[in-house]
């Protein structure tokens, strides 16, 4: 095997796994420009980004689960709902307490998931599904299927309005705070994934659990942390979603599990683990936003959009994994 060939493969492979999704984004941009002259306007671009910030928050966390070689976390939607409801419930103690409580829920669910999957090696899909059932059932039981309102719960402390405004704050009057939070999370988690001790060890854990374990890496802790990060960003997203919707309810966040997987995988984090980046995931999220935007601008109805989205998903991931496989690098 010649040296040149391996080298070239690596470059090409990196190109595919990181930039592949931005290539798709570029195509969408071109189509968008052809469809509407207002497509490239700042307002439209901001709305594309604004429409996927919550998804983006969920996806950057979910990426860690996929990156660790554990497919997906199906308890994301209930984590979002639970943290939102708990935050609203805690508004009577003030806005800080509310946010803290919401994050605590994420911490708790993440810890349980992380412990069971990291320590006892339960299948992640099935376990998180069970977790979703249990938490959803609990939530509905505790709140008797009602939804609760931040403006009511937080009326006494005046925190309700603050909570509702969480999603609506704009930085310098133009940039939504959610986008800033997403950017902060993305940059932070990018460094965590690529530059931290944990992230580097997680990469090996994801690529080969056994090899990582026998390299002295604390694999249980790493996998646990991956689920914890996922649950934490889901909690943050849940608080924002609740703030946006102005209600806390058990059904919030439905569909975000598969949507997050879509964004993560289309963004180049392979299901086999240990490959991909937050940069790619953000690309995946943007592509999903752009795709919806362009299709609506083209006047394609919701149903046809579903079909196109599904097809693009399979196609994009297929091309990506196929090119990796052809280079002898991946098989997933």
């Amino acid at each position: 095997m010649s040296e040149d060939r391996t080298l070239r493969q690596n470059r090409f492979s990196v190109l595919i796994s990181v930039l592949g999704i931005y290539f798709l984004a570029a195509i969408l941009l071109i189509v968008g420009v052809m469809v509407s002259e207002r497509f490239l306007s700042a307002a439209n671009m901001l709305s594309v980004v604004g429409g996927v910030t919550i998804l983006g928050l969920v996806a950057v966390g979910a990426a860690f689960v996929t990156y660790s070689g554990h497919f997906a976390d199906l308890s994301i939607p209930t984590t979002m709902a639970f943290s939102g409801v708990m935050a609203v419930e805690a508004l009577q103690f003030g806005i800080v307490a509310a946010i803290f409580t919401g994050l605590l829920v994420g911490l708790l669910i993440g810890l349980i998931n992380g412990f069971v999957i990291g320590k006892f090696r339960a299948n992640p899909i099935v376990w998180t599904l069970a977790m979703a059932f249990v938490t959803r059932g609990l939530m509905r039981w505790i709140w008797s299927n009602r939804q609760i309102y931040p403006e009511v719960e937080g009326a006494a402390t005046g925190a309700g309005q603050h909570f509702v405004n969480l999603y609506r704050y704009h930085l310098l009057g133009v940039i939504p705070m959610t986008v800033v939070v997403l950017a902060a999370f993305a940059i932070g988690l990018h460094f965590v994934m690529k530059q931290s001790s944990f992230g580097r060890q997680l990469q090996i854990t994801g690529a080969s659990f056994e090899a990582a374990r026998l390299s002295g890496i604390n694999v249980s802790r790493n996998v646990g942390l991956a689920f914890l990060i996922c649950a934490m960003t889901a909690a943050v997203a849940g608080i924002f979603l609740t703030s946006l919707s102005r209600v806390g309810a058990y059904y919030m966040g439905e569909g975000y599990d598969f949507a997050a997987v879509t964004a993560v995988v289309i963004g180049g984090v392979t299901l086999a683990g240990g490959r991909g980046s937050i940069v790619g995931v953000i690309g995946g999220v943007l592509v999903i936003g752009l795709m919806r935007n362009v299709m609506t601008l083209m006047g394609i109805d919701t149903f046809a959009q579903t079909i196109v989205t599904g097809a693009v998903f399979i196609l994009a991931v297929g091309i990506q994994s196929n090119s990796l496989r052809r280079l002898g690098r991946d098989d997933a």
Binding site: W127, A130, F133, R136, L271, F303
Partner: protein, 350 residues
């Protein structure tokens, strides 16, 4: 003389049957208006939809893959059987609906086996695509039997003809038992397990692994479509999202029924019984008059317990893997009592 390990093995082996018996017994004793013919019919009818669709999910899982598209394939079968009914008649419509399910399965299978895309991704994709196709076909509205009202077949399928078994339930049982016998007792059937147990081995032994994977998906598509179609005939109409709640129940039931996400394990009969067990549970809880949150909570707790139990026993098994029996004999009996041992727990595969 049954020892402790015998009991453990027995429980492990017949877990799902014992669970069903337990739940049934509990409900029979405590749930009001539970134990009567009519209610048994209801339970059997309710279990049919997911039990038949679980065949496909189970066999795909046995082959080492996932088929998340079952839920929209159930809806597809339902929508098409009602949609084709005016043009093709019932038999033609059923054939067409099942064939359409088969086509979905074929596409899944080809993408997984030939294009080598992970089944998790492929079937999330086809899940949405098929749902989109259904919406486009129906315009978003449900379909029903039109023109001269023909409820004859529906009434036939839904009314018990034997004890508490209506024909639709009997068909479901026959299909499940048929597939169970096929997968457990026939040569091609065993090959599905072999493909899931070790794809390479199967391939090297001349078993066309790809073909079996594709067939597994086709069976899955057909079973899901057939169960959707029969259900739709029974209610003389079809909604666009008929199967939307089925996926999670099927996944839970299949796992509770003993199938493994790693492939090579599981039985369609046990998956069916697990669906029945969950249905008995739901029915019983309804008899108590509690809200639907308890159904979710109860199934979640059962699923979580099963997953935890399996993960924990694997964890323990891993710790004694490779133990030397002759070394253990060195220990005095008092010590041996406290040592986890691999001596007697070898599981027979039937």
């Amino acid at each position: 003389m049954p020892s402790q390990t015998d009991v453990v093995t027995f429980v492990n082996r017949y877990r799902i049957l014992l669970l069903l018996a337990l739940v049934f017994l509990f409900m029979a004793l405590f749930a009001p208006r539970f134990l009567n013919m009519f209610n048994m019919t209801i339970i059997m009818k309710s279990a049919s939809l997911n039990a038949m669709a679980a065949i496909g999910f189970t066999i795909v899982l046995i082959c080492g893959h996932l088929d998340l598209s079952v839920s929209s394939t159930i809806s597809l079968g339902a929508v098409l059987v009602i949609g084709f009914r005016p043009d093709l008649g019932w038999s033609g419509a059923i054939v067409a609906a099942v064939a359409a399910g088969g086509v979905v399965g074929l596409v899944n299978g080809l993408l997984v086996a030939k294009a080598r895309i992970h089944s998790f991704i492929v079937t999330i994709g086809t899940l949405t695509i098929v749902q989109g196709i259904i919406y486009v076909y129906t315009g978003g509205a449900a379909l029903n039997v039109t023109g001269a009202l023909d409820f004859a077949l529906a009434d036939f399928l839904e009314d018990p003809i034997l004890l508490f078994f209506p024909p639709r339930v009997i068909i479901t049982i026959l299909v499940i038992v048929g597939f169970e016998v096929f997968f457990l007792r026939t040569k091609p059937g065993r090959n599905f397990y072999m493909v899931g147990g070790n794809r390479e081995t199967a391939w090297l032994a001349g078993v066309k692994a790809d073909a079996y994977v594709i067939w597994a998906f086709i069976i899955s598509g057909c079973a899901a479509a057939l169960s959707g179609a029969l259900f739709a005939i029974g209610i003389s109409s079809a909604t666009t999202d008929l199967g939307v709640n089925s996926l999670m129940i099927i996944v839970a039931a299949t796992i509770i029924g003993g199938a493994s996400m790693n492939g090579g394990k599981g039985q369609v009969l046990y998956s069916g019984i697990a669906v029945l067990m969950l249905t008995v549970l739901f029915n019983g809880l309804n008899r108590f008059g509690v809200g639907s949150e308890f159904r979710i909570l109860a199934s979640g707790v059962i699923l979580a317990s099963v997953v935890l139990y399996e993960a924990y026993s694997n964890y323990k098994k891993e710790r004694i893997r490779g133990q030397r029996p002759e070394l253990l004999k060195e220990l005095d009996p008092q010590q041996l009592k406290n040592v986890a041992s691999s001596l007697k727990t070898r599981k027979l595969q039937e």
